[in-house]
Symmetry: C2
Subunit: 344 residues, 2 copies
Amino acid sequence: MDSDKEVTIYDLARKLNISIATVSRALKDDPVVSKKTKKKIADLALEMGYRSNNFARNLRTQRTNTIGVIIPRINSYFMSAVIAGMENVATSEGYNLIISQSSESVEKETANAVTLFNNRVDGLLVSLAYDTDSLTHFEPFIKKKIPLTFFDRTVDQKDSTCIQINNLKAAYEATTHLISQGRRRIVHITAPPKRNVYVDRLQGYKQALADQRIAFRQDYVIVGNLSQEAGADAAAHIRQMKPFPDAVFAANDNCAVACMLALKQMGVRIPEEIAFVGFNNDPVSTVVEPNLTTINYPGYEMGQVAARNLIDRLGGTSGIRPTNTIILRSELIIRESSIGQKTV
Amino acid sequence: MDSDKEVTIYDLARKLNISIATVSRALKDDPVVSKKTKKKIADLALEMGYRSNNFARNLRTQRTNTIGVIIPRINSYFMSAVIAGMENVATSEGYNLIISQSSESVEKETANAVTLFNNRVDGLLVSLAYDTDSLTHFEPFIKKKIPLTFFDRTVDQKDSTCIQINNLKAAYEATTHLISQGRRRIVHITAPPKRNVYVDRLQGYKQALADQRIAFRQDYVIVGNLSQEAGADAAAHIRQMKPFPDAVFAANDNCAVACMLALKQMGVRIPEEIAFVGFNNDPVSTVVEPNLTTINYPGYEMGQVAARNLIDRLGGTSGIRPTNTIILRSELIIRESSIGQKTV
DNA sequence: TCTAAAAATGTAACCGATTACAATTTTTTT
DNA sequence: AAAAAAATTGTAATCGGTTACATTTTTAGA
């Protein structure tokens, strides 16, 4: 019968011989409508297969119940866990997520921001690309007071919230741990120190060295893009270094593992000759041999917290709680790759 | 000045003293509008910071430029690669993706379908939960002729397209490869054979055995949820089996790797005592020792193809090309975990 | 130069909800 | 039972576009 045409509040109103205003209110469970009428309307709505039209509502209310997400790339263990956490919270709160990837390019990040802006997202969750340094592409959001939350790769911006871990402390602990195992010539593999996460990790590394009276050497910092290839390249580089380093602290497990595999291939023994600590607690860290010591980085939880925080700000009676930074707990997980004194 | 209020086509029209119809057409690049007027309007739009309101448009056109995605879970290497591929195509075609996870539960899958239906998605991309067997929750889409595409975990449904690989052939090749290496007592670790992917892989496994005149044994099929725990459980189970199996073909790399690690822990040598083949070509397959032989499953490409196909159907002059099934290429990648004759 | 055809622009209805304000009905108070 | 207060329901404007159809302007042909 009504198989094709959408049912609207007009249809319901006509059938019950009441006004659309009452129908609209009843469907929203407005307390001003009597229980009897509400029941009548709800029943008919069900019977006729009514479904509300979000576009009409959004057009009128100027809200979209949509959250935009911009991330470097989705297909990494960490990031997909974050997204899973966000989806979990968003769905349960009636929000939709629009996810877009910047592929580590400022241009794509900008294009994505424009798209999301035009899609009228209610809020934005962002993890920045490697070399984004200007934030002009987020200004339209700030001007329109659209809440903006940075997570993981954050940046200090007075109108926005940051969700992150204490990267400095985590790196400090990782490095201190290596030193406690008798290591002195510790190489740090990381990405260009532009993003907070890499700056802070480098800083933590340096501070740990300083606190243990070990001189920092710039040539011990290997900068790349933290990919598996970068890990292999780092291994080739390390192989040439004299004296041979006795430990590696990498800013990412994937890269650390690739580096380990390459060194093993060359006949280097881990951890006897060179110890390893990674970052993220990616599943590969428990597969590689020896198992990789790493920093547990709670991605799923970070996604949940970021989404929850943003949604709170959206619903919030404007103005309250301008929380600026939320730090999640992270911890060093010690495994075989870094245990024991050097034996060579 | 105009810092807060949104600019609409009415504002543009008033300023230029023309009708909103012309403005609307010009912004859509309708050929019926003269180049001169178009330029005038485009310039002013830019100057005034006009942005089109999708809700008004969607309300009127009854299209949303949004694609719904339902997947078991996003945080696996394979699935995040699929999503990345979809995002890539969707964004470049001006579509948004709404992603929701079923967490392998029919109830959540149903709830997600309802949500996406109410969000008026233009099309739907689905990979089914383990134990979904009724498709009633997709009927509203079919009735409304909203294109529905299944990928990976598909189901035969006359109105919808399926994107998959030839699981039977892949499993056949994997099993045949093991047999060619002299293995005879081959265990198959998989999920309950409800979903096509597991049914077909089991079938391919059986067929390969049959073709090589090896008797199929039901007790050689270990059914679980393919998680890492399931892999460890399978290892414990295998350890008890007499005679000891000489090969394992697992329907998923993660599970295979967990099983390998557990067996290694028990002192079993791989591949000498027991060979392994996995499925998916997950990065861990090149980290575990020995490296895992596996089936390369092109996730990113599958995501691209699925999105492309759906978008084509959306834009398409209805009725053409009711492609029913698209098979992507997959291939066996032979690594150390399955090479060489048994030496025990 | 005049007229028919083509090109460009305009008018107004429509998509489906929300909500301020007005009107009506019901309940309470006196 | 009448008046006042409370509860309910209705009217109509509004959100910002799209598009069928009507009208005006421009171009081409005779």
